[in-house]
Subunit: 296 residues, 2 copies
């Protein structure tokens, strides 16, 4: 069981040091996170972006970058392409987002020839530390897939569970979230959930539809008479669509005092997928999370 | 500005005492809430349900109900019908839910001949007190309308704003929530939100699409360069559909330490619409909220 985002730092310590390619590295919080992860000896970096801005930000942070490779590409689209190339070629192990729109960053990742997508569906997987829950959990997909159909959701389960295995959760408990806990034909998400929870999976337990109270609170399960292996102890929540997933993610952060570390599923290499507004600490945990997803 | 759910108790003190008809009153938390609201002199009650159970629960609560009218109807469906009749006839001012399924309670309210719906659309309106927000806000619709279309959302705005006016919020700030803050044709909720926010409304300000971070956090608005009268200071959130609304409501409660008081919009009289699992305190605030919605 992973209790906090800092658990990823402990997991990362068990891996060989990695190299992180930062796309549009002229980002103060990203640079500070890189400074910390280097100080910990967990990873080296290749900074791709506007050299002048990177140098100036590093000075402000008292971060000596004289021994770090910088690839001077001020254009954000080109910087993302180059960062993806560096990861795809094996020069770096992990891709990280700097000061660039998600859409531009994703386009470089998803490019059919030069990108690093390993699946037809790449989804955001956010690990969340909430002061109101007893362990870390993950959710998908708050940022990319707009209206996943049943097949998409099956893919989302498989890919997300794969990442959870990589970070050491042996048998993830997966909840397919909906507004209600019963199959309700008028609510399509419950039909998908009921169908998908009927499948037997290897090395994970899938249940649904489950409402948020049942997913996160054992007492609510008892109150509603639900006998569930998953309810109150979930490791992963699959949300019905981008609106509900985004609402969940931002509510738990804005109105729940939670922290998150966000990566992608369905890519050939681990990808850090933070928001521009994330703090240096959150970005540091996200890098550690990506390192935890590496094989060795 | 209403800061906390207890503000409703202050508002209720300015009204004449009311009579609350409780449907399926054999509910310990509902009875305790009625005990407190009577002790405050804010309302009298008519208890409709199983007399034996009501009497026994009242004894446990040391609640002297010898002077309270009890209508002995053990059948839940019939008890709901009778409670609605009592309110519709004017014998009581407010309808309250006891130990009964929401579906049964709603059916009695929505019955075309004997019910008290005043609109083709009756929606749940939950007032929420979050430790991470500076004032009370309301959301709709976490429990009834499954996939509201644009016209439904216009009705939801009008009816909810009407209730907010009743509780003294002169010019409610309304946010139409979606996953993103830009009109994105592939996300229908943003199209609805952009259309509805283009309308000029009387005595409220409507904006959208807004994501949750922009709705609840002024710093996020500044960070994303959004000049908004509503962002960071909303009084009302209209969610895209039942999944996102229910996810929001339950997340802010389960993972955000929030409290809520829930009523309905679109009814001829104020209706308390709590969950069976709500505490006595929450039910007490919900009654006070309903009293605040009365004219005098």
């Amino acid at each position: 069981m992973l209790e906090k985002l800092s658990s990823f730092v402990e997991l990362a310590r068990r891996k060989k040091p990695k190299i992180v390619a930062v796309a549009a590295a002229e980002d103060s919080h990203a640079l500070e996170a890189i400074k910390w992860i280097r100080n910990d000896g967990l990873a080296e970096a290749i900074l791709i972006g506007c050299r002048n801005k990177i140098t100036s930000l590093a000075e402000n942070l008292k971060f000596d970058i004289s021994h770090i490779e910088i690839i001077d590409i001020p254009d954000k689209t080109e910087a993302c392409k180059e960062a993806v190339r560096v990861v795809k070629s094996g020069q770096a192990h992990i891709l990280m987002k700097g000061l660039v729109d998600s859409a531009i960053y994703l386009r470089a990742i998803l490019n059919k020839e030069t990108g690093i997508a390993a699946s037809r569906l790449v989804t955001q997987l956010a690990f969340i530390e909430s002061p109101h829950y007893h362990k870390l959990f993950a959710i998908t997909d708050a940022g990319i897939t707009i209206t996943p159909d049943q097949q998409d959701k099956a893919t989302m389960i498989a890919q997300s569970v794969n990442v959870l295995h990589q970070v050491g959760i042996a048998v993830p408990k997966v909840a397919l979230i909906a507004a209600v806990e019963h199959l309700t034909p008028a609510i399509a998400a419950t039909v998908d959930a009921a169908a998908l929870s009927g499948i037997t999976y290897d090395n994970c337990i899938v249940e649904g539809p489950l409402s948020i109270d049942l997913a996160f609170n054992k007492a609510s399960c008892r109150h509603k008479g639900l006998h569930s292996q998953v309810g109150g102890d979930i490791d992963l929540a699959i949300l019905p669509d981008i609106n509900s997933a985004n609402v969940f993610y931002k509510t738990v952060m804005q109105l729940g005092g939670a922290l998150s570390a966000s990566t992608l599923t369905g890519t050939a290499k681990p990808v850090v997928f933070t928001s521009r507004s994330d703090t240096a600490k959150t970005k540091y945990f996200a890098i550690a999370c990506a390192i935890s997803q590496c094989k060795d």
